[in-house]
Symmetry: D2
Subunit: 410 residues, 4 copies
C-alpha cells in the first residue's frame, strides 16, 4: 500500500506526507485527536474564521520543516534521509500534549503538568509502539542531538512552529498585517557551526517577522475580548471543579470527568497506565458539551457563567499599565453584590490578570545573523535600526474583567 | 451605544453589520449557536481546513447581499432602506434551522422535519421577540413579497447563499479551482420585471459559476471519503437511537438526549414551548461528545463504529453507474460475518446509497439572461456553447461502503 | 562566483535558478530582451494589470517544469541531473523567437517566418556560444529526444508553457475565474510508456483546466476590444510599410527600420549574420516609439490611426456567427467615405477577421488519462461528462471592426 | 451613452469609474499617457513583476478614496456629491506630471521643474478644456479648500496615494511583507475638526503601516541594484545631453529630442503653448527606444553604458554609513583608467550618491490619533511602544557605484 499522501491546505496549497513513518504518525489516534483541538481556543469569539486546529498547524509546520531542510541542503549542508524524516516527525508531534483550550485547562485541571511534558510522554509511548523509530526525532525534540540546528528548527525563536502558527493564524483570522513572508524567511536560513543562522540579506525579513509577531500578540493572542472569554472559561472550570470536589453531580464526558475529579501530576501518567488514553480522549467538544450541559445546572454561578459564555455575553475588560488598585476592585465588587451576587462569590465574576508581550527575547535564545564577512551577530546588534532593540523590552499590561449588568440565573 | 460592527473575514476582508436590527440578530442566542455548527459537517476528514461555521457563512451571505443590492441601486433600481435591511436579515437568518451535521441528523433524529421549516419557526419566534421588525424579511424569505428578486437573491440558483458557500467552501478547503468570481457575478446582476437577471456580458461568468459548482460537488460535497464518514455517523446515530429506544442507558447532553429519545414532528414545536430551546441547544459538540462517550459503550456495534470514526478508520467506498447488484452485497456481507459480525448486524457496517449532481436545474428555477436587445433568455438558450446544455442533465451515482478489516470491540 | 539565484514572483512567491547553465541563459542578452516584450501585447487596453513580460512567463514555466519533474521523480521515474536541467533550459527558451506584439508583427513584418523557427535559430546560436551545452535541451524542444514526455512537458496541450501562461494571465488580468489550479494539476502528472499522462483522480482538474482555458480565450485573448486594438496596430504597420516601400521617410529605431524596409525569410537569418542581432534589438518600445513618432506624420492615414491608438480611441467591433455579408461592409465603407476618407483608403479603417476557440484539440494532441486499472484513455473518453466532448468542437466567430466617427488628421 | 465603467484590478478586484467627469478624465490623452509610464521605473531589474503603471496606480488611489469617503460618511460626516467626485478627481490626477523614470529624468532633463508643478499645469489645462468642472478638485489638490481632510487624503503621510502605492508595489514586486492592510487602515479613518485622524483602535494598524513603508523603502525603492540601474540611466542621459549640446546627432523620438536639446523652466510651459503637448508625448518607450538606438552610437561612453544597461550588466554598488573617502574613490578611478577609460570620462562610470529612509516625518506632517477620550495625539505620542519613536529618525546611507570589469565599445 502506498502511504504517500497529499493534503489540501489553504495556506500552502498542498502538504505532502512523504514517508511511511510520517504517514503512520498522522494516522495514529494520538495525532488524529488534534483534529478536534482548535489552535486558538476561544479566539473565534473575536475572529470567526479562526477555527483551524492543532492538527492542521502540525502538518503545516512539518511542511515548512521540509522546505527549510531542502534550502539547507541546497546550500551544501549534508542532511541524511533519516535526519530529514526525524526532523519532520519531531515538529509534527511537537504539540501532541496540548489539551483543549490549553492555557485555560492547564491553569485549572492540570496545574502541575506542562503540556510539553505530556508531549514527551506521548512521543515516548509512540516510540515504544513503533519499535524505536522515533529515537532520533525525540533527541531532536529534547535538544540532545549533537547537530543543534535541528532542535532550533523545532523549538527556538525562529522555529518552524512559530513560522507556521503566525502564518496560519494571520491567514485564518484575516489579520493580514501579521503576514510574515515565511517563504522568504526560510530561503534566508543557513547553518553555521551546527547553529541555525540567518543570512545577512535576510535582516529585513527577520525584523518584519518580529514586528508581525508582536502585532499578532496584541491584535489576536492578547485581544481584550479573547482574554475576557478565557477568564470566563477559567472561572467556569474552577467552579465546576469545586462543585465536583464538594460532591455535586455534574454532567461530563467520562474522560473529562476523570480530570475534573482529580488533580493529576506528571508521575500519575506513569502510575496509571490508562491515564494517557483518558487524556487522549479530551478535546474541545468535552468542554463545550459540558458548558452547554451546565447552563441549566442548579448552581447559579455555574449556570450563569455558562449561559453568558455560550451566548457571548462576555465580561467587560479594561487594561492598565500598573496593577489595578484595591479601590477600583472594591468598587467593582460592590457593583456585583448590588446585582445580587453573594459577597463570597464575586470572585467568579471579577478577574484580575496580567499579560506580557516580548517580541524578541534576546538573552534567552538569540537569533543569529551570519554577516557577509562571516561573523555571527545577534540580530539586535546586526541591525542598525533602533526598532529591533526596542523589541527586546518586555511590554506588560494588567487587566481587570468583570460581569457588567449580570443577572444571576435560577 | 453604537451597534455598528466590523468583523474580520479571511474571504472578503471585512464584513460590516450595518444596522441595529442586524446587530441584534447576530447577537441573539439563536444566531450565536451557528458558531458551533460547521458548514461542511464532516468534510474536514478530507479537507482539514474546512472548519468554517454556518455563523461565518451567514455573515458572508449578508455581505454579498449588501454588495448586490448596491449594484442594483447603481443600476437605477430603487431599493428602500427597509427593503435593504430586510433582505440582509432574510439571508442572515436563512440557515437558522440547521442542526449539527444537518443531513445526517435529519435522516435519523428529525426525519419528519426539514431544516427550512425550523428556520421559519425560529424566524417567527424572533419576530415575536422583536415586535414585528422581521415582517418584511420573512415575506422575502417565504417569497410572498411582491418584488420577487428579493426572494431570488435569498433563494434561487443564483442566490447569495450559494455564492457565499461556494466561495467560502472553495477558500477553506483549498480547492481553488472552485472559485466562482463572486465579485464579477454580482456586478453582472440586474432586475427586469421584478425578476433577478444577469446581463448578457455576464454569460461567461455564469457558465464558470455552474462549472465551479459542479466541480465542488464532486470534489467536496460528494467526495467519497466524506460520504463514507457520513454513512458511519448515520449508522452510529441509528444504533444509538435503537439502543436508547430499547431502554439502554446512553451518555448524552440533555438536549441531545431529548432528540435521541423522541421522534418529533414539526407540530411538536408548537405543542412543546421549550422544544425550540432544546433544538437551539444542539450543536456539533453534542454529537462529538456523544461519539466519544460511546466509544467505550458495552454495545460492540456502537463502540466499534464510534472508535473507527474518531480514529478516522473509515469504511471503504466504491461508486457505480447503476445500483449495485445483490451478488456484490452478499459477498460483502459474508466478508463481514467472517470478521465476526453477527448476521443481523451486518447492515450497520454495510451501507448503500446514491448521490446526484445537477449542475443546472433549468426547469425548476431558470437563470435568466437579459440580452443586449432586451430579451430575457434562459442561460442554456442564451449560451451558444453546448456545455451549458450538458449541465442540465442530472448525473447519478450509486455507492456502497463497508467496513473492511473491521474487528469488533469488546 | 555563486550563480544560484532567487527571483521574486507574485504568482509563485519565488523562482529559483538552480544551475550555472540556467543562470547563464537568463543572463544572456537574448533572454534579457524578453524583459521588454509583454506577454499579452496590447491586452492592457482592456486589463491594465496585464503588463507581465515573456521574461517572467519563461521563468515561471521553468519553475513549473522543476515542480513537475520533482513530482515525476517522487513517483519513481528516474530523471538524471542533465535531463532535469535540459528540460528546464528547453522551456526557459521556448519563446525566445517572439517579436514584440508577436501576432501583429508576424502578420505584417515577418510574414514568412514563424516565431518558433526563430526560437530554434536562437537556441542553436546559443548552443554554439555555449559549446554544445544545449544539445539535450534542443532535442527535447524539437521532440527528437526518445523520452517523449520531456517534449510534451515543453509543448503539448498539457505543457508547462500553457500552465504558466494561463496562471499568470489570469493573475495579472484579474480574471480569477481563469485560475487553473496548476499545483494540483502538476501533482496529478505521471509518465506511462514515456508519454505524459494524468492520473485518473486528476480528471476533474483537467476538465477545469480546459474550461478555464476556454474562458480565458473569450474573456482575454479574444476580447473584442483587444481584437480591435490589434487590428488597428496591424493597419498602422501595414501603412508604415507601404509608405516606407514607396520611399517616404519614417521615424524608426535602426533595428525596427531594417524589418520595416525588408521582407525577410527564414533563410535570410543564415545569409545575414547580423540579422539575428537586429531581431534581438526589437521589442515593444520600438513599436510604441514609432507609433508616437508617426502620430504627427504628414500621411493622414498613418497619423490618424496612430493618434487613435495612443489615445485609446479604438475601432468599434461586432461579432458574427457567419462571415459578414457584403451589404454590411458596403454600408460601413460608405460611412467612412462620408467622414472624408478616400475610397481607396477605407480598408485601413475597416477590418474583417475571424477567430476560433478550440478548447480541446482531441485529435491533434490528446490528453491521456491513466485509469486506476492501468488503461490509457483520451480525456474525452475517460470523462463521463458530456461537457468535455463539447469542448472538442471548434467555435468560430467572425468580426468586423471599423473607425466610427473618425476625423482624419491634417 | 453610459459612461460608468468597471475596470479589472488584480489588487482590489474591480475599480468603478462612477461619474461622467471621472470617465472623461480617464479617457483624456493626458491620463491615457500614464498607461505608458511604469510606477517603479527601472525596478523590474530586481523585481520582474513590478511593471505596473502610474495609470493603474491612479485608478487604485481613486478606488481607495471612494472607500475612505464612504467610511467617513458612515461615521456621520456629511460629504456632498460634488465633494465626493472632486476628491476622486484630485487623487486620480495627482501624478499627471510625472515623466518617464521620473527621478532620473528630473535630475537631468527637467532640472528646474518639479513633477508636482507640471501636474498642476496639466490639471489647470484640463480644467479649462472642461469648463471649470475641476475647480473643486484643484482646490483640494492645492490645499486651499477649507475642509482640510480632503487635501490630507490626497497628500499627507496617510494619503490614498501612499496607501495604494505601498499596496500595489508590494503586490507586484511580490514583497508580501510590505502589505499594509489598507482595508483596515481605511476603516479606522475619521475626521476631527476638519482634520484627518485615526481612531485609537487603529494604532497597531498605523504602526504596521509605518513599518511596512520603511521595509518597502529598503527592500524595493532603495534596493542597491535599482539604485545602480538608476545611476546608469542618469549617466546615459547626461552623456546624451552633452553630446547633443555639442552638436552630435542622436537618434530620438521628436518629443524626447526637444527635451534633450533644451533646458526648460516652468515658465516655458506658459510661453510655449505646445510644450505641454510635447511633454505629454514623453513616456518610457522614448527612453528605451533611445537607449537601444544609442547602443551602436559612435561615442564609446554612450554606447557602452547603453549596452550594459540593456543587457543588465549593472554597476557594482556598495553602501556606507558615512560619505566614502577620497582614497576609495581614487582607487576605483584608477581601476577604471586601467580598463581603458580616459581620465576625464571616469565620472561616467563612477557615481556617488546618498539616500535616506524616513519612516515617519513627525514634525512635517503628523499622523493624528483620536483617543477614546476624545484627545488628539501624534501617533508617536499615542503609542506606548518605543519603536514608533525610533521611526521618526532619518536613516541616511551613502553609496558608490562603478563599472567593474567594463570594456569600452568601439
Amino acid at each position: 500500500m502506498n502511504k504517500r499522501k497529499i493534503i489540501n491546505d489553504p495556506v500552502y496549497g498542498f502538504i505532502s506526507i512523504s514517508s511511511d513513518l510520517l504517514y503512520d504518525l498522522v494516522d495514529h489516534p494520538y495525532f488524529q485527536r488534534l483534529r478536534r483541538i482548535k489552535q486558538l481556543g476561544l479566539a473565534d469569539v473575536v475572529y470567526p474564521g479562526a477555527l483551524h486546529t492543532r492538527f492542521h498547524h502540525a502538518l503545516g509546520a512539518m511542511h515548512l520543516m521540509s522546505q527549510a531542510l531542502k534550502v539547507l541542503q541546497e546550500k551544501g549542508h549534508s542532511i541524511s534521509e533519516s535526519e530529514f524524516e526525524a526532523a519532520q516527525a519531531a515538529i509534527l508531534l511537537h504539540d501532541l500534549g496540548h489539551g483543549p483550550f490549553s492555557h485555560v485547562l492547564e491553569s485549572v485541571l492540570l496545574q502541575h503538568v506542562a503540556h510539553e511534558s505530556i508531549t514527551l510522554v506521548m512521543m515516548k509511548a509512540l516510540n515504544r509502539q513503533m519499535d524505536g523509530r522515533l529515537d532520533l526525532a525525540i533527541q531532536m525534540f529534547e535538544g540532545t542531538y549533537p547537530r543543534k540546528f535541528f532542535h532550533q528548527m523545532v523549538s527556538s525563536q525562529l522555529d518552524m512552529d512559530r513560522m507556521d502558527y503566525l502564518n496560519r493564524d494571520s491567514f485564518y483570522t484575516g489579520v493580514i498585517e501579521g503576514s510574515i513572508g515565511a517563504d522568504r524567511l526560510i530561503k534566508m536560513l543557513d547553518v553555521s557551526d551546527d547553529q541555525l543562522v540567518v543570512e545577512e540579506k535576510g535582516l529585513l525579513s527577520i525584523e518584519n517577522f518580529l514586528h508581525a509577531r508582536r502585532l499578532m500578540y496584541w491584535q489576536v493572542y492578547l485581544h481584550k475580548t479573547l482574554l475576557s472569554a478565557q477568564a470566563m472559561l477559567t472561572q467556569i472550570l474552577q467552579r465546576a471543579r469545586e462543585l465536583s470536589e464538594s460532591g455535586t453531580t455534574l454532567f461530563a464526558t467520562p474522560d473529562f470527568a476523570r480530570f475534573l475529579h482529580n488533580n493529576f501530576s506528571l508521575e500519575d501518567f506513569d502510575i496509571h497506565q490508562d491515564l494517557l488514553e483518558s487524556f487522549n480522549g479530551l478535546d474541545d467538544n468535552d468542554v463545550w458539551a459540558s458548558v452547554k450541559g451546565w447552563r441549566t445546572h442548579p448552581d447559579p454561578v455555574l449556570s450563569t457563567l455558562c449561559t453568558m459564555l455560550l451566548n457571548r455575553k462576555l465580561f467587560k475588560i479594561s487594561f492598565y499599565d500598573s496593577p489595578p488598585d484595591e479601590a477600583l476592585l472594591a468598587d467593582l465588587r460592590s457593583q456585583l453584590t448590588a446585582s445580587g451576587i453573594a459577597k463570597e462569590q464575586t470572585d467568579y465574576f471579577l478577574v484580575k490578570g496580567e499579560t506580557t508581550n516580548w517580541a524578541y527575547a534576546k538573552e534567552l535564545d538569540p537569533i543569529r545573523v551570519k554577516m557577509k564577512n562571516g561573523a555571527l551577530l545577534d540580530i539586535a546588534d546586526a541591525s542598525d535600526i533602533p526598532t529591533i532593540k526596542a523589541l527586546t523590552k518586555i511590554v506588560r499590561k494588567y487587566y481587570v474583567c468583570w460581569a457588567k449588568n449580570v443577572s444571576l440565573r435560577g
